[in-house]
Point group: C2
Chain length 349, copies 2
Amino acid sequence: MARKVTLKEVAAHAGVSYQTVSKVINRKVRISKEKEERIWQSVRELGYRPNLIARSLRSQRSYMIGFSWEPAPRGLSNSILDQFIQSMATAAESAGYHMLAFPHHPGGAWISGYRELIDTNRVDGFVLYSVEYNDPRVEFLKERNFPFVAFGRSRPGFEFPYVDVDGCAGMRKVIDHLVEQGHRRIGVLAWPQDSRVGQNRMEGICSRLSELGIPLYDEWVAHGEGIVQFGYQVTSAWLDCPPGEHPTALVCFNDLMAIGALHAAREKGVRVGPELAVTGFDDMPLTQYFYPSLTTVRQPIWDVGQRVMSLLLDLLEEKTSPQTSLLLEPTLVVRQSSQGFCGQSNNPN
Amino acid sequence: MARKVTLKEVAAHAGVSYQTVSKVINRKVRISKEKEERIWQSVRELGYRPNLIARSLRSQRSYMIGFSWEPAPRGLSNSILDQFIQSMATAAESAGYHMLAFPHHPGGAWISGYRELIDTNRVDGFVLYSVEYNDPRVEFLKERNFPFVAFGRSRPGFEFPYVDVDGCAGMRKVIDHLVEQGHRRIGVLAWPQDSRVGQNRMEGICSRLSELGIPLYDEWVAHGEGIVQFGYQVTSAWLDCPPGEHPTALVCFNDLMAIGALHAAREKGVRVGPELAVTGFDDMPLTQYFYPSLTTVRQPIWDVGQRVMSLLLDLLEEKTSPQTSLLLEPTLVVRQSSQGFCGQSNNPN
């Protein structure tokens, strides 16, 4: 293709206006699928090269959104990553942006990754995943005044744009469900007390129980790591007490702890469902295939991805946004592990 | 920063040569972490903007690798995505490239996504994930003569650069393990017969059994979808036959079918391990927490990511590569579901 094809020729060929072609190629509008397909067809047939690199040079924008995440521990996997990236990438694409996935490096080297992408003009903004209490990425990006939106909040007073799942609301649904099933003696397997996400979930449990006039005993609240082993150990110890002196329902802060509780109950001959309710949080894949299948709380990941990207695009396009933070409600997924309770005083078999 | 800082000033500030700074910024070399950190420190202190956009304009390269994948069915998730992208992104980063993740769209719209990224100069190459028998993406990219490397092979005669996991070798390990445990009556829960990956795994089972002189009966090979329901149905039907007339070991083509087999065995009162061995394939997260925990085959995903990217970078840099395809060996992960076999003729309890 020696002679350079012009945008005008593409427009004539596709039978649309110059402006429409320009907007479609630069992803400024959404038009009918049919019309858009026709324009791209003309682009191809005539061999027009829109050259987004030149566009980037003019605007000094990369039209890329940086995204990175800490890998899951060995033997586990990040079960929401698939849906989260798909959702963000779909929202970004419709505005002419794409996702740049860059690797995690331990410690300060991770920040270097963010810094280099900014210093080299590779991205226009970031989505932060799993923000921590005093997240160094947040501090760094605020200091550089570089656009970002987080999935997750941090401590109060540490303000930045975010979308988060309302863990408090999720736990209130869990409590309502358990109380409806007849449970009054409720134990909690919680995260360490300095966890921001953990505090939020605990607040949901405490507030709803208190509204319902049901006590929560200190000795039935265990704080620890969100791993199978912790759930197993705590549940084993509790089930060693006589049936009348241990909780009949265990609210776990994630599915892994709940799986540990299922294992402990099996070992002690306690039937999960009729004798002991167990609930998780996250709805990890395969939890529906455990025996018994696990009642859990599902986060609206697709929605989170859409909202995160929409907030970030507003920031990038300097649109004034009415909201810079957003809480989305999770869903309770009721399965076998919290159903068929036979009452408080029953003994095994 | 009004005056433009030059590369020379950065070099003087960092106390290294102009060439070294240039190479580091353009990611042409790997030097000591300490020296590299010093150079980036100078870049920041002086406010130098390497402007990779300008670099891209000069070279007409984007230094981006496109990557897309079909989302997992509802309720499941892609358990290797996390590690696979991390691995590719790490390998790409060390050569100055980054990953561009773009969304999946059903049907032909997915190809349009690939096409638009090429037409707009957004990527220099692609990594294809889960290639199909007559993958339209492969046909399209071959026709456009655009660089790509696939994770997975296709039909013979349909040639392209790929890295794949040797399913045949994985299944040979499964058979060796089961035979060592004393099993001689082996059943197979396989994928549909036109599956290329399935054929490869079946070849491993057949070839090893034949070498060991152990028969594989047609009626103990079931082909179907790789879902829990299929594993459950086939296993239920087989276990309805008297103990001497059904397989004592079930080799499943993925973990979901194996989970279905576990459910069926529990329902029929058949103890998995002592009476019936069950093996899966994939080592999905949480399979280690099933009861009994699942013996399965683990794919070397980190290695696959590294090799895929290395092949692709060779293509992009027009290095002559001795190999354009590569088979990697998976690992057998032995857990409870295939151990403790009590012999062929035992009855329940």
